[in-house]
Amino acid sequence: MIQNKCPGTVLIVGETIDGRLSAGSRDLGNQARRLAGQFNGEPVGVLTGHDIEQLARSWSKTAGMRVIVLDHAQCRYPNPPLTASGVGALADACSPLAVCFPHNLRACQAAATLAWHIEAHCITAVDSLLKENGHFVIERAVFGGKLRETVSTGRRPVVLTIMPGLFSPSVSLEVPDHSPSVESRLLADTNHRFIPQGINRRIDTDQALERAQVVVSAGRGLKGPEHTGLLDVAAGMFKNAAVGGSRGACDLGWLPHTLQIGETGRTVSPALYLACGISGAPQHLAGMRESQTVVAVNTDPKAAICNLAHYAVIEDLTVFLPVLRERYERMRDKGDGV
């Protein structure tokens, strides 16, 4: 049980998807001790799901924190209203310093609902967190990563959604030797107005994107569907490459949605990620940030992708990719290096 008067608690709220930890929750667990350290507090995990005690034990062990399971048959998939009411009851009982969710739109719904009911500040997509003079100073991307905003709050608790990789590398530190406790609670059946009906899984025709050594990916900088062929031509230079796209390029119909890389699409971690005309919105970075080498081709040297990239070429991709291919062929014809 969380005792009353434990003002140093930071609630770390994880979610499960059909009995497994969501990617954001795994990352949040790994950051839990450092995150709580920023608040001078102790992390307490809260995991929502159904029949997940085993999973909760392993999450608790890896993250090095006590975990409270909030169990409900309607939590097999993230259920924002039930999560908000369950976490709200815990927050009422223990007055935490902060409540942290992983960042995604569903967790934002749970965070917003919770914050509304407990009259807390709700700050989403947090990618930097400091404590200054008793206030939390928080940074987040705005305008799709074109600008960074800094806000501050002294209110407690504060409700946050945390971007993956807030602390890099995102591995848990100072995990205690003993196994922290795991406690299970049944969530009350309070919400009959959000009724899960079923799941649609995207049918990926193949795993080519996930298995590719090189991913050639394009965003709105592609300028139109007539240029998609340039991506295939560029991908053709590599031994094992696949083509992907940002949400912007897929929404515009230039590339199929099945090739979308990002928070709500596919997650890739190739040896080389060639980001062509991609500005680097946080939602896109969430799907490719584990790539080993990132090369950005972009007309804007201030594009957010350049912050993650190891190399940048400041050019229009529709001009640069044909030249790249032409030079590649010349190099091959000569049969030697460039």
């Binding site: 998807i17 969501s22 990617a23 954001g24 993230p78 739109l105 569903r106 934002c108 719904q109 609902t113 914050a115 509304w116 009259e119 500040h121 709700c122 700050i123 997509a125 206030h135 987040r140 305008f143 799709g144 074109k146 600008l147 960074r148 905003e149 800094t150 806000v151 501050s152 709050t153 209110r155 919400n191 107005r193 959000f194 009724i195 899960p196 009906q197 079923g198 799941i199 649609n200 899984r201 995207r202 590599f238 031994k239 929404d251 515009l252 949605h257 928070e263 709500t264 596919r266 090369v295 350049c306 190399y311 940048a312 070429v313 001009v319 030249v323 790249l324 030079r327 290096g337 460039v338």
Partner: protein
Amino acid sequence: MAFSILVCIKAVPDLASGGTLTIAGPWIDETAIGWCMNHYDAHALEAALAIKDAATDITVDALSAGPDRVRNPIRRAVAMGADRGIHLAVNPVGRLAPATAALSIARFAKTKKYDLILTGAMSEDEMHGITGPMIAAALDLPCAAAAVEIALDVPDRSLTATCEMEGGMAEIVRLPCPALVTVQTGRRIPRYPSLSNTIRSRRQAIERAVPDETANHTPPVDRLRVAFPQQTSSCQVIEGTLIEKADALLRLFNDHGWLK
């Protein structure tokens, strides 16, 4: 049976038509840029208009809260096919915080008894993703976030929403109406204004509603500053002519053994 939909629209800086951001004080210079309809809200409006197209006796109101600059996106919403445009004349000092916007809109919507409220899943500028769920919380409505499809069952007064989750999964949820759904971009491209609706949007007055600004929710967070992202030194910008840049990249790719 009549069914009424409210679509909440935010005016955001127009970057698609070549506008650039400049910083002034703790935020951007709002006088140096044009304003347009938030892209996500255009998708919410399109979802409402598609529902209206498929059934009879459905009305769509488009509302935006803020200073006079929100009137252009409202007019655009009417030109796209909304029955009425409503300007909720909130005039905050500085930017409208999500909780403040949510409370103003909720107080307005409560008097109108809408069957369905739609918002974009987030705004392009501030990217909070919480205003819609906060309106739902303020009105005690069931809420589904990040929907890519909404199917309405008018006789049953309920809807099913297909909502995006991580890794390309989507969950189908049923909500009894009245309800609030936040709409994700993607499935339908927002329509262009028709000629007849454009003419109507010029003639038809935008209704002006004065917000109930009695007790507020929580005071907003302190917005300290915005800045362009600092370029990390680890990013090496490859310089030279087009050919030199191409050759430098090819050398890098070749050294790693990635090339065929």
